[in-house]
Symmetry: D2
Subunit: 279 residues, 4 copies
C-alpha cells in the first residue's frame, strides 16, 4: 500500500467533506489523517488528506473528484518524494549550516540542489557538504543582470522551492513573479514590526523586551508576504544590537527550519495574504 | 439553525469518516469543523464534529449512526449549554479567584454551583461573588465522614465536573469512582516530576531551571491521571521555595483555566491513561 | 534590622561601585543583593541595592552619598511599604479582576485606592471587593472636562501610580505630564507592531502567527512610552478576531501583572525611552 | 586596556562586595559588569566581575585579594581565550552538527580539539570540518578498557571541557572523577522526569503534553548532576515516540548550545548539586 497526500482547495459549500470522503472510499483510499479548514471570510475550503491505497489512477481520480466539487477546485496528489530546493545566501552562516547538516542526514524533507551566494563567504562550508556553490556577485551589475545570472543557475535544476536563508538583496517583481508561491524567506523580526533594514537596530532603539523572526512566502510587497511561522525570544536592557543579533540567530534558524519542514510536508496552503498550516 | 457538537469514539476500521459524514448529510447536518484521531496503539477512533442543523431527532440519529459504526461506539450529542461545576479548595486563592471572576462575566464556559473548602479562608471571596460556600472541615473526622459531607453537598446540585482548585486533601478511591472522568485537578509540578507533597521544595532541592504545572483528570493512582494541559516557566538560582511558589501560581492558574476551557467545550477525550485534545 | 532598597542613578564614571559600597559600609548597611547597569550609549549608571541596617538617618546618608557621586545623582531610599494606586478602566474586566483579587489577598504589592471607569460596567465587581468605584463618563464632555473630573478623584488619594487596565481613552499631554513616570498602560499588541486602534483586527488582517501584549509607561507619544514587559502567544489560521481577543486577554493580564510587580518592587528604572528592569 | 573576568567564590560574610571592589580599585581595574549571589542555605558567596585594566600582576593580585576574603576563597582570573573541548558522540548528528558549524565560524566560544565516537557514523561529517575523529568502539571491551582508550585520546589534547553530545554510554565513576566539573551532558528529558533509558518512550507512555531537555554537569549519580539549562516544548496526542524524538532534537540542540555558551563564557558556578548561572 502506498501513502499519498491529497490537497484540495475550492469554494466552500455544504457537504464537501461527505463528497470528498465518498470519492476516496470508491477509490479504495483509506484515510490516515484529514485536516480541513473553511475560510469563512473568503468562502474557501481547504483540506489535506493523508491516505493509503493501491494502484490509484491519478488522472481519472482527479476527474471524478472535480465533478463532485465546485468549479475551479484545485486538486493536488503528492506521492511522497523529496522536494528539490535552491538556497540563496549572503554572509550569515547559521541558517545555511543547519540546512546543510539536515540535508546530509536526510532529515530536511528536501534535497539541496545548489547554494547561490552573492559573496564567497559561504562557499567553503557548502562545498564541505559536497553541494554545488555558485558565487554570483551583485557588484557592478544592474539588478536585472544579477537576477538573470541567478535564474540561469536555478533553472538548471528542477527546483520546487527557493529558500532565502538570510539573502540580503531585495528581489525584483519580475524575479518573484517567475517563482510564485515558491520563495520562502526568513525575516529577522516579528513582522510586521521592524520592516525593512536593520530590524535589530530598530528593536534596540525602541527598547523592546522581545525579539523575533518570521518565515514567510515572498511576494512583491516587501516583508508583506504570507507568514508561515513566527517565534519570539525574551531579551532585556543588557542586550545591545550585537547581543540581539547573536540571540536572534537561534530564533531565525529555528523558525526557518520549522517553516521549511511544514512546507516540504505539504502542510501549508496560501490563501490571499495568509497561510493555512495543518500541523 | 442550531449549533451542536457530536462526539464519537469507537474501534477503528476502514471508512469511518465516510460513514459518519454520510449520516450527517442524510440528517441535513452541515459540518462547521471536524477533528478526528486514530489511536493506532489501541485501535480506537475519536471524532469531534461541530455542525449546524435543524430539528435533529437525537435518538433516531444515534440509532442510525450506531448501525453504521463498530459495535460499542459511544455517541454523544452536545447541544451547546453551560456545564455545571463544583469547586473544591483549601487555602490558595489564585485559581479560585480566576474561576469566580470568569464565572461572573460568563467567560468560564461553565456555571459554578458551589465552592467547598476544608478551611474558611476562601469563604469571604466566594460569597463576594454571590456563590454558595460550604465549609467542610476535615479535622476530627475520618476520611469517609469528610467525603460523605462533601458528596452530600455536591449531590444537591446537578454537577458535570468537580474542579480541584488547589484542594490539598487526597480523595479516596470510593469518592473518585463515584465521579469517574469528572474530577479535574491542578498539580503544581510538570508531572511526572515531583509527584507527591511539596513539589516546589523538591524542585528547589534538585536545582531545576524550569518549574511547571499540570492539569489532569483524577484517577485512583495519585498524580497519575490523564494529563490535559501542562506548561512550564523558567527560573534561575535566585529562586527559593517561596519565589517558586509565587511564580508557580501564575502557571497553575493559566494551566488550570486552559484545561477547564478545553473540557467545558467538549474538546477532551480520555483514552486509557491519556487524553486526546482537539484544539 | 530593617530592610530597605536604595536606588541610585547618575552619570557613569570609573569606580562608582567602590564608592557606593564604601558609603554603605560606613553606614553599617549590609548588602543583600545589588544590581547595577551602565547604559554605555548615554553614559548613565543605575543601581538597585537591597540591604539591611539599623537607624539609618536618611538625609545625612543621602548627603554623604551625593558627595561621592557625580553631580546630579538621584538617590532614592525605599523603606518597604505598599504603593498606592488608582486603576482606570473601560469595559474589559480581566485585568481589573486580577488586580482586585490580588489586592484583597495582599499579593499585589500595592493598595488599590480607587477604580475609575468611563462606563459603569465594572462598578459591581469593584464594589464586591469593597474598593471605591467612580463612574466618570466621557460622553458629552470635552477631554479637558473629562480629565479634570478624573484628576479630582485621583488627587483625593495619595497616589504613587495610575494603572490603565484596558482604559480605552487617549489621555491628553496635560494629563500625562501631571503624572510623569507614574502611568502604566497595557497595550494589546507586541509593540511596535499594530499601534493604534483595533490591534487584533490588524493582526488578523496581516495573518500573523503570534499575538502579544506590552506593558509600558505612558508618555505623550501614543504607544511609544518605555516598555516594561512584553509576552507573546502562538496562534494559527483558525483564530478569528474574536478568538484572538479571547486568547489575548490571558497574555494582557499576565504581562500587566508582571509589570506591576516589577514596578511596585522598585525594580524598574526609566532611561530615555527605555526601561532598565532588575529582576 | 585588556578585558578580563574575575571569578570568586568563598564563605559569605558582611562587607564582601566592598572589600572586593576596593581591591579592584587599588589595582586600577574598572568594572564593566558585576554579578554576585549569596547562597544563604550554604552561606556561600559567588561573584563574576568583568573588568578592564592594564598590566595586572595576577599572583600579587590574588594574594592581595585572598587576604581580604574569608579563608578558603577560590579566585580565578580568566584572560579572555577560547576553551578547548573534546566532543563525545554515538549516532545522533544534530548536536554535533551544530557544534561543528559554530566551531568553524568561531562562534562556539571554544575550539573543538577532537570528536570521539563509539561508532563511525559521524566520522564523515566531522572530517568534513577538518576536525580529527577518533572511532573507539565499545564492542568486545570491558568498560575500563573502553574508557582508557578514550582518556588516551583526550589527554593528548589540553582539554578544558568534555561535551557529551548525545553520547549514549554511561561513564564510570573513575572516568568522571578524573574530569570533575569538566563534563557536560545533554539529557533528552526535563530532568528529573524520565531518568534513565528511553525517556521519550517513557514520556509517550505517560501521555505528557510537554517534552524537554536538560544540560547538566556529569557526576557519579546518573542524571543527578548540577543542571545548567533546561527547556521544554509543547506536544499533543498526535505525537508518537518517533515524532517526539524529532521534535526533541530541536530542544536538545538549543539547550546544549545555550549551556555551552554559558560555561565557555565562565558564567556558571557549581555549588553542591546546583549551578549558579550569571546571564
Amino acid at each position: 500500500m502506498n501513502e499519498l497526500i491529497i490537497l484540495i482547495q475550492c469554494s466552500d459549500e455544504v457537504g464537501l467533506v461527505t463528497k470528498i470522503t465518498q470519492v476516496l472510499a470508491s477509490n479504495n483510499l483509506n484515510i490516515i489523517s484529514m485536516h480541513e479548514y473553511v475560510d469563512t471570510h473568503n468562502k474557501k475550503f481547504f483540506t489535506r488528506i493523508a491516505c493509503r491505497g493501491d494502484d490509484l489512477q491519478e488522472e481519472p481520480f482527479k476527474i471524478e473528484m472535480s465533478e463532485k466539487l465546485p468549479h475551479g477546485a484545485v486538486i493536488t496528489i503528492v506521492v511522497q518524494q523529496l522536494k528539490k530546493i535552491a538556497v540563496l545566501v549572503t554572509k550569515d552562516y547559521h541558517c545555511l549550516g543547519d540546512i546543510l547538516v539536515r540535508n546530509q542526514f536526510k532529515t530536511l524533507g528536501a534535497q539541496v540542489q545548489c547554494v547561490i551566494g552573492n559573496y564567497s563567504y559561504l562557499q567553503e562550508v557548502t562545498q564541505q557538504f559536497s553541494v554545488p556553490y555558485f558565487h554570483i556577485s551583485h557588484h557592478e551589475k544592474d539588478k536585472q543582470e544579477f537576477e538573470t545570472e541567478i535564474r540561469n543557475v536555478i533553472d538548471q535544476f528542477d527546483i520546487d522551492f527557493i529558500v532565502l536563508a538570510k539573502f540580503m538583496r531585495i528581489l525584483s517583481p519580475e524575479f518573484v513573479e517567475n517563482y510564485t508561491k515558491k520563495i520562502i524567506n526568513i525575516h529577522h523580526s516579528f513582522l510586521p514590526a521592524f520592516v525593512g533594514a536593520n530590524p535589530y537596530k530598530q528593536a534596540f532603539d525602541r527598547g523592546v523586551k522581545i525579539i523575533g523572526a518570521t518565515a514567510h512566502f515572498v511576494t512583491n510587497n516587501l516583508d508583506e508576504g504570507p507568514i508561515i511561522t513566527q517565534h519570539t525570544a525574551s531579551i532585556d536592557h543588557t542586550y545591545g544590537v550585537k547581543e540581539m543579533i547573536r540571540r536572534g540567530r537561534e530564533t531565525e534558524k529555528a523558525v526557518l527550519l520549522e517553516a521549511l519542514q511544514l512546507v516540504f510536508e505539504d502542510r501549508v496552503f496560501i490563501s490571499g495574504n495568509k497561510t493555512i498550516v495543518f500541523k
